[in-house]
């Protein structure tokens, strides 16, 4: 029963109720965003800086963007994976200030566990627009954006979070800036017991266990004007934690002591120079970026499901990359060229009493040459580009990825955009080299490739804006871990997968103090020749919400979001019912620099929600936050 509930929408939850200037008209905190590299792309930026104090993960903000689906595994602090336009979580990349941090292994980038306290926005590249993020971004990409203070002065803030499931958190931030530089240091720590009651498929209530998490992160971002035409930016973060790794809800006790401990460190620096070269009417901007990262993860299960033997899986990943690029402008023409080079090194080991040891030692080098040209008038623009990815190391191959895009704006209130791009994802290290007895990679895998296309209008008036996009991704050689026999699950290429659908969104500022926003996405994602929707991908998904700036000291928010039923297997047989969640928040500013918030999620206390087989989601949760901020100009 594919219950259609995506259109049951109500009011919209703000992730950030605290506007920089509280007297100003409330914005929706979701903005379509042009990117000079792909001006016709469907790119949206969403504010996420306050998700922490609302008792949410950064990922929760993404439900405000059409075309993005979340797959939650459990309560706060547990994994959340995103999928864009019918792709799976592996088929999108995640970057920090433009430097890719989604490592090429695992089930996708876990957005649920991050403690990236300095991230203010997430920029979402959907479909063909993700071509600028390169290999891995088959159906989309996320770019996590840090920011620093723009005007001279300093400000500090501290916030605490207390709430359901024994959740407690602390977030601190300090920023200072002068005329030429700014720096921001922020930290975040959170823990929760996480256990909650749920109702299983047989209608029996149980308690979900082993959801504990403790996590902390520190992030430093600095910007400096290097000259009248150049600036530099440095971002560094450390993020780490320990969490329980709950098993299927029918077999919780067997995995009640399983844990995952992980750490991540990232450093990236970028410089931009404007008009670093001028030849006649041609101006040239240049940029350089360096990035390095390290990540370790340890899964420990003292009593594995079969055989009752302890199991330990460790992995270490390191990567670095460099980018150098230039953009030339002349009249209505602009041309961009860029070179990227990088190397990834991955080591993993499975060991334990009674377990045949298994290791992976693999590396990958990447050389990318990208170029594009755009011709733009006031009415329209066209862009064409090509990106060549050359992979080396443990596996050699290359990909040539053309892209074209166009915009047409016949009047101030309407515009039309369209894109077509060839996208590419080489197999991850575990897809190639995993070598457990019953779960195996496949060194002969083909890389995934796709044609990603979209087209859609956007309307913009003084009080409201709306948009729609038809998208289609034709994916080839999609890689899934599938049973190939009664005993072996192996990474396998599917012949083809097509996802297509319609994204719609609208924002309506009813009055200066009330803003409504809605989005709805219809997605059909199927293997070619098969009629069953891909697992975990809802056909219908949507959200409707409101922000009310009732007084200078009082704000309200409300939101209903949900999705239709999702398949839990590849055959359309096991189905998870659709669900809606009603969320709301009240935010009070009793005095200067003080903000008290109460937010509640899943107010209707639906205890039967799942996004994955035997992975129940929590019922009602309530969080109290107190934030104190001071500013010195």
């Amino acid at each position: 029963m594919r219950t259609f509930i995506g259109l049951i929408l109500a009011i919209h939850v703000p992730l950030s109720i605290q506007a920089e200037e509280p007297e100003a008209t409330i914005t929706t905190h979701v903005r379509p965003l042009p990117d000079a590299r792909v001006p016709s792309g469907f790119i949206t930026e969403v504010d996420v800086q306050d998700t922490f104090l609302d008792g949410q993960s950064m990922a929760d903000g993404l439900t405000r963007i059409p075309g993005v689906s979340l797959q939650r595994q459990s309560s706060l602090g547990q994994p959340v994976f995103a999928r864009i336009r019918g792709g799976n979580p592996r088929q999108m990349t995640v970057s920090l200030d433009g430097y890719e941090i989604s490592a090429p292994f695992g089930a996708g980038f876990d957005l649920g566990g991050l403690a990236f306290s300095g991230i203010d926005q997430v920029r979402v590249y959907r479909g063909a627009a993700a071509i600028v993020q390169g290999a891995g971004a088959l159906t989309g990409a996320l770019d996590l954006r840090s920011s620093t203070r723009k005007s001279p002065g300093s400000n500090t803030s501290a916030g605490i979070l207390l709430g359901s499931f024994d959740t407690a958190g602390l977030a601190v931030s300090g920023q200072m800036a002068d005329q030429i530089s700014s720096v921001r240091v922020s930290g975040q720590a959170r823990e929760s017991a996480g256990d909650f009651d749920f109702i299983d498929a047989q209608g029996v209530q149980h308690t979900r266990i082993n959801n504990e998490h403790r996590r902390a992160g520190v992030m430093v971002t600095g910007e400096r004007r290097l000259s009248a035409t150049a600036n530099g930016r440095l971002t560094a973060l450390w993020d780490g934690g320990l969490r329980g790794a709950p098993g299927p809800s029918e077999f919780q006790e067997q995995l009640s002591a399983a844990t995952i401990e992980d750490e991540r460190a990232v450093v990236t620096a970028r410089t931009n120079q404007r008009n670093s070269l001028e030849v006649g009417s041609i101006g040239v901007d240049t940029h350089q970026q360096l990035g390095a990262q390290w990540r370790s993860m340890t899964y420990t299960n003292p009593s594995s499901l079969l055989g009752n033997t302890p199991l330990v899986n460790t992995s270490n990943y390191s990567g670095f990359s460099g980018i150098i690029g230039a953009a030339a402008f002349s009249g209505q023409w602009s041309t961009r060229v860029q070179y990227e080079g990088g190397r990834d090194v991955y080591q993993a080991a499975d060991a334990g009493a009674g377990v045949v040891p298994s290791t992976i030692n693999a590396d990958r080098t990447q050389n990318v040459f990208a170029g594009s040209a755009e011709y733009a008038t006031e009415l329209w623009s066209v862009m064409a580009g090509v990106r060549t990815e050359i992979m080396g190391g443990s596996r050699d191959e290359y990909a040539v990825l053309p892209s074209v895009g166009a915009t047409w704006s016949p009047s101030r209130w309407i515009s039309l955009r369209s894109n077509l791009a060839r996208t590419y994802r080489p197999p991850d290290f575990d897809e190639l080299y995993l070598d457990l007895e019953t779960l195996r990679g496949n060194p002969t895998l083909n890389s995934e490739r796709a044609w990603a296309a979209d087209i859609g209008p956007e309307l913009s008036f003084s009080k409201w804006r709306a948009g729609a996009a038809y998208f289609e991704n034709r994916m080839e050689s999609v890689i899934l871990f599938l049973p190939v026999s009664s005993t072996v699950i192996e990474a396998t290429n599917l012949s083809g997968v097509t996802s297509r659908g319609l994204e719609t969104w609208a924002v309506f500022d009813v009055v200066s103090a009330v803003s409504l926003a809605a989005n709805y996405t219809l997605t059909r994602a199927k293997r070619d020749g098969d009629d069953d929707q891909l697992p975990h991908q809802p056909v219908h998904e949507g959200r409707l919400g409101a922000q009310v700036h009732a007084a200078s000291w009082l704000d309200f928010s409300g939101d209903v979001h949900g999705h239709s039923a999702t398949n839990l297997d590849n055959f359309g047989n096991l189905v998870a019912p659709g669900w809606v969640s009603l969320d709301a928040g009240v935010y009070v500013r009793p005095g200067s620099g003080v903000r008290i918030g109460v937010s509640a999620q899943n107010i209707l206390n639906n205890l039967s929600r799942i996004d994955g087989l035997q992975q129940p989601l929590p019922g009602r949760s309530v969080y109290l936050s107190i934030q104190i901020e001071s500013e010195r100009l």
């Binding site: 077999f251 007895e437 026999s485 009664s486 590849n570 055959f571 047989n573």
Partner: protein, 378 residues
Amino acid sequence: MRAFSTITWALFLFCVGACGADTAVVPSGKESPAVCPAGAVGAAWTGPKKVAITGPAVNVLHEMNGELFIVVSQDNTIIRYDPKTGKKSVFADLGNERGPYDLAFDDEYIFVTNYLSETLSILDLDGKIVQEISSPSFDGPSGVAVTDRAVYVSNIEYLGTVDGYGAGHITVIDRADFSVVGDIATAAKNPQFLTVHNGDIFVSDTGELSFDDLGAVASSDGAIERWTEGENLLQPTKATAMLPIETPARRASPGRPAFVGNKAYVASASAPEVYVLELGSFEWSRGLEDPIVLYASDRDALHHIASDGTMVYVSAFNEDSIWRIDPSCDRVLGEPIDAGFDDLLEGAHSLVAMKTEAGTNVYVALSLANSLIRITFE
């Protein structure tokens, strides 16, 4: 013009949402020539037809009083399916952490082995859990069988991927008061299944299974044992038919037998082979030297077997197919029949053959596709 646009959008949305819906044409096959001099022709068939969604990881089906009882291991449930009405219901929720493996029944109780919790659930015929037995004797409880005097639980003693399997044993439980009487050692490792036939207990010792690049491989001898209860439940009269292997090989690995006349048919859990045991002499008439070969395969294989009394049906998990064997000369009859719908592996697993007035219905659990299908032979 507005009406046209509205209709266009409605059609577009409908098509994106619903075009290409399943037309549900059930395949069929024609009669195939007889392969045995005195044998029957291969009956025409229709199917597979999906008749029920089961739940994840079905391990076994059993017929009881014209209904199917389905052990859903990953859901910790027993599902009941009535072929007459097509109605499916959860017969019993065994509780979390159980991992049910197999069931047996008599006219009063249903006995379910729980592999992970190492218990035996005893249900009444309405699905209510009457008792759950745990015992130090249980060590990977798998197969179960019941006679008038005893309940037998086989224990595979799985130790892990390195250490493999222990020796294996059968726990004997007094049927009257459900007390554990004692243990009986098995002739070979991994006694997966127990079957009662003509009052005797048949023990399927699959033998140790290990893994190589192409999946499961037998690494110890297999055996079929026949136990006849004596006065002392712990000292049955035994007959044993070994399937010895010299080195790890894709051979032997016997599963649960199906009976036709005075023969037992045993499919391999590692090779596409079926062995035939003469119940009179208790010797293999089609043993390792001369098995019934279903198909060629380099990699591992897993099969289950069932009979309607006149024909033997074999499921091939890795092929998503059903094979027929004519027991009158022990030859494969006709071509394999697709049991799946998809190009992905669906895992044709445990099966039951039920005679009807019109022919035979073979029900097969697609363990990976979480469904129950039916193939109807005229």
